[in-house]
């Protein structure tokens, strides 16, 4: 077998990078001959400046984000006439047409954005690997804002993402519309990214949430459907992109203190510790917090701009005694982000985060009668893990039609088992480079790029293993009429497991969006996705608590899938009454009716996927062990309905989602393992005075099939209800959150009870 010339490729990457930088620097010399547009973005209702609004020059890649004063400047504009678009989450877009720009002069404009009752995101960046209007995206996109995330007081981001329609989490891994079951975290069919950089481990290709700083998240975009045409392996069922906030212009320090405790389980048999908060405590002379199973944390962050350099530094510490034996954890995390604005159109962002996690662990409970206890021999088993992630993004627009991005990322995941019967460890690395360009030409938007990624694992259970991935991709969006948008693209991937196998993929994608009138969008997409087997799936050799996993060096083929989606998105703006008049006290019913002005976004999507060579864990009876194998064909189809509504000037907002999933193993005719046929989620939030009341509910029907190692274990559906009260006072916020308020007990994987009822108090402030 011919050895692939990796060294030559590195040289080419470096030369390419230097050339791009040279081009970028040469373009800055032309700036003096051009004009600029400056202005301000304000709230039309209050007149307050809007921070973080996007201002774009239509038909170009040029734009800016408004600062804390609402101000913005777009430079490097050749003399001419332009249409300028301003948009922001929670506001209606506004366009100013025919703005004249003269060489060496500044044109001034002011945007006054009307608040919209639906808190929809104006622009998304993940669906097509570039900024676009959410209604132009050919696949389903969900967006969760940082405000929504922080309101829920979560320790880890996966807790809050479960409130997204069709999204489930099993042992930290994402299941989007039934794409994945429980696979011991070995391989994810959904690509998790932070700021557009993959954040999956080098060994399993799995997701680790504890390295993600929840407090610094600006928004999360969830894209459903095959994304391999742009993102390659792991994105076969979708992408989740976590976008962290940029450093602020003014010095700002934020803090968050939280403390919570677990309630008792519903059954006395399941009490396993005297350290529960019981009513007896209140009769004691002195309350001893050591008697309480608690969770607590502190987060501190500081952000500021020094000249052209913006800095964001954050540190966090979380500790919990857990709600079950071996359920304790102790976490530290640090994050630093530096954004250098080299010129108005050129920036370099370098981000690093580090997380240390020591947590108890176990495979299965002691028994169903002692479901929160572990088998005696497993008591005290724990895992230490450390994640270090550094990534850099260099972005520049050498002309008004071209913007290019260079990305580099390195992620080290280091873990050690401290189990009674297993002391395995692994040090795994994932290093990746990407060069990407977006070129706008008339009605075309061409996105193109190439990627190189390597994974390396050094461990007891995998040995020393390496994989290499190379890819090139291109996708063109063509607006062939004001109503129609056609997207065509493809990606070529070459995957090599050093010394074992090589494989290649072509992943085409087609999308069509029809917007017959304002507020309506019909979409169709079809794409091919794949996932190359991870190092863990091929090489893992491990034995824990009597379970053995053996390597499968014959696992050479990537799993592949064709996915199709047909969807519709409709915005409904309803004016129920005449212009609002009178007061609430005079005629409450009239007031309620006249002031509602509800607005909804309804999104309906039908989806269908057909998998080939699906990789899953199976029992090898000859070896008395589990093994990852190419299972065969599977089909997943279903329907999803999402409704987002808001009324009373966003004082009342609601979200509902229902997903019907029909996942079938086409070889056996059985439902795929660890899938719920029905998923439903609902959320209501009411704001008045300084108070915010929130309520979330999640339901997943009973999993019909699981890997049947436990025979006739009982399984139940999931019903989880959370509630919260938030009090805002100037720059201080105090909140009380109740999680799993009904204290409902359920399992998502066998013999592991998910969290019981918990209350958390949080104090948050900005200085």
């Amino acid at each position: 077998m011919r050895k692939f010339p990796e060294k030559r490729l590195w040289k080419r990457i470096v030369i390419f990078g230097l050339c791009v930088l040279a081009v970028a620097s040469s373009t800055t010399a032309q700036h003096a001959q051009r004009g600029r547009i400056a202005g301000q973005v304000l709230d039309a209702k209050t007149g307050e400046p809007l921070y973080g609004a996007n201002v774009l020059v239509k038909g170009t890649v040029l734009g800016a984000a408004s600062n804390a004063d609402g101000g913005f400047v777009i430079t490097n504009l050749p003399a001419g006439t332009y249409d300028i678009l301003a948009s922001m989450m929670g506001y209606k877009k506004q366009e100013k047409q025919g703005i004249r720009v003269s060489a060496g002069r500044e044109s001034t404009i002011t945007f006054r954005l009307e608040p919209t009752v639906v808190q929809g995101p104006a622009l998304v960046v993940t669906a097509s690997k570039r900024q676009q209007n959410i209604e132009d995206a050919p696949t389903s996109v969900d967006v969760m804002s940082g405000m929504e995330i922080r309101a829920r007081n979560v320790i880890s981001l996966d807790e809050v993402l479960q409130n997204t329609a069709g999204l489930g989490i099993i042992k930290g891994q994402i299941d989007l519309r039934g794409s994945s079951g429980f696979n011991w975290a070995a391989g994810s069919r959904v690509l998790l990214m932070v700021d557009g950089h993959p954040y999956i481990s080098g060994d399993t290709g799995g997701i680790n949430w504890d390295g993600i700083p929840v407090e610094e998240v600006e928004r999360v975009e969830v894209v459903k459907g095959a994304g391999s045409a742009l993102y390659g392996s792991n994105a076969m069922a979708g992408m989740v992109n976590i976008i962290t906030r940029d450093p602020t212009d003014r010095p700002e320090t934020q803090f968050k203190l939280s403390w919570g405790f677990y309630d008792e389980p519903s059954y006395p048999q399941w009490r396993w510790s005297d350290r529960f908060l019981t009513y007896r405590l209140f009769n004691q002379k002195k309350m001893d917090f050591k008697d309480i199973l608690s969770t607590g944390g502190i987060d501190l962050s500081h952000s500021r701009r020094i000249g052209r350099v913006g800095i964001l530094v954050t540190a966090g510490r979380k500790k919990s005694s857990g709600y079950q034996e071996n359920g304790d954890y102790s976490r530290w995390n640090l994050m630093g982000k530096m954004k250098i604005q080299c010129s108005p159109l050129t920036s370099l962002t370098i981000t690093g985060n580090w997380a240390l996690n020591k947590r108890g662990d176990f495979l299965q409970w002691a028994s169903q009668d002692r479901a929160l206890e572990v088998p005696p021999e497993a008591l005290g088993d724990w895992v230490r893990s450390e994640k270090t992630n550094i990534y850099a993004t260099f972005q520049s627009a050498p002309s008004q039609r071209l913007i290019y991005t260079l990305k580099a990322n390195a992620y080290r995941y280091d873990w050690e088992n401290h189990f009674h019967d297993n002391q395995d460890y692994a040090i795994t690395d994932r290093i990746g480079f990407e060069a990407q360009g977006v070129y706008l030409w008339k009605t075309h938007s061409l996105t193109f790029g190439s990627e190189v990624t390597t994974h390396h694992a050094n461990s007891l259970i995998y040995g020393n293993q390496d994989t290499w991935d190379y890819a090139v991709y291109a996708e063109n969006e063509f607006k062939f009429s004001p109503l129609w948008t056609l997207t065509l693209g493809t990606r070529y991937d070459y995957h090599r497991i050093v010394g074992i196998s090589q494989d290649q993929q072509i992943s085409p994608r087609m999308g069509l969006v029809y917007r017959p009138w304002e507020g309506t969008s019909l979409r169709f997409s079809a794409g091919h996705g794949f996932r190359a087997p991870s190092i863990a799936e091929v090489f893992a050799s491990i034995s824990i608590s009597g379970f053995r996993v053996v390597p499968n060096l014959d696992l050479k083929e990537a799993e592949r899938a064709w996915s199709v989606e047909l969807g519709m998105r409709q915005t409904l703006d309803l004016r129920l009454g005449r212009e609002a008049s009178g007061t609430f006290l005079r005629n409450p019913m009239k007031w309620v009716f006249e002031h509602a002005n509800p607005s909804f976004i309804i999104d309906i999507a039908g989806f269908w996927s057909r998998y080939r060579n699906m990789i899953d864990v199976d029992i090898n009876p000859e070896l008395l062990a589990f093994q990852f194998v190419n299972l065969g064909k599977a089909r997943n189809q279903g329907l999803e309905i999402r409704l987002m509504g808001s009324a009373y000037d966003q004082h009342l907002s609601t979200t509902f989602g229902y997903t019907l999933i029909d996942p079938e193993d086409l070889n056996t005719g059985e439902t795929l393992n660890y899938r719920s046929r029905h998923r439903f989620n609902a959320g209501i939030q009411l704001k008045f005075w300084r108070l915010t009341l929130g309520w979330d509910y999640r339901y997943a029907s009973r999993m019909e099939n699981v890997v049947n190692v436990y025979g006739s274990d009982e399984r139940v559906p999931m019903h989880v209800m959370d509630g919260r009260i938030i009090f805002d006072w100037s720059r201080i916020q105090i909140s009380l959150e109740g999680k799993n308020l009904r204290n409902y007990h359920y399992t998502l994987r066998q013999r592991f009870v998910e969290p019981i009822r918990q209350y958390i108090v949080t104090l948050r402030g900005t200085i």
Binding site: G546, L576, V709, T747
Partner: protein
């Protein structure tokens, strides 16, 4: 507004209608933790026809019974109890089995075939012997209230599935 109220109500109704107790529950009533625990070591190859394997306890030795009829009658007479299902395809398993305080004459690992009829074709894989060298008679275990008796280790040998008298083989002198 009416739509919002209707939707909220619909959601609430749906939520309440789905509410059925606390979900997963213990299999046994509350009581002091009493029982046995130990390690089961599996020897041989797990057959494909395995439905499940459990630990079973019998309050007395069967008298001349040969097969599944007896185990069913023991269950009916409340003379036998079964643990949770043991994970299949494992080399070893550390179990804990909560039991009523009593003397259990026979503690054994039983194998259930993958057939639709429960308690039929059940076979013994191994039993608890205080002295593994002396396997003539299983060792009775006394379960005391409030105590989980440790060290009840059992070797479960799949070769036993081929024995002529599969389950309750006659115990001389019992």
């Amino acid at each position: 507004m009416r739509q919002t109220i209707l939707l909220s109500l619909a959601c609430l109704i749906l939520h309440l209608s789905c509410y059925k107790g606390h979900g997963l529950s213990p299999t046994a009533e509350e009581g002091n933790a009493s029982g046995i625990q130990g390690r089961i070591t599996f020897v041989g190859t797990w057959p494909d026809s395995t439905k499940e394997v459990r630990v079973a306890v019998l309050k007395r030795y069967p008298q001349g019974m040969t097969d599944a009829d007896s185990i069913l009658s023991f269950v009916i007479e409340n003379l036998a109890a079964y643990s949770d299902t043991i994970p299949r395809y494992v080399d070893a398993y550390d179990y804990t089995f909560n039991l009523e305080p009593d003397v259990y004459a026979w503690v054994l690992v039983v194998w259930f075939p993958d057939i639709p009829l429960y308690f039929f074709g059940v076979k013994e894989l191994g039993a608890y012997y205080q002295n593994p060298e002396q396997t003539d008679l299983p060792t009775p275990v006394n379960v005391v209230r409030g105590i989980i008796t440790p060290g009840i280790d059992i070797t479960a040998d799949f070769a036993n599935l081929d024995r002529e008298i599969p389950f309750f083989k006659r115990r001389e002198g019992s």
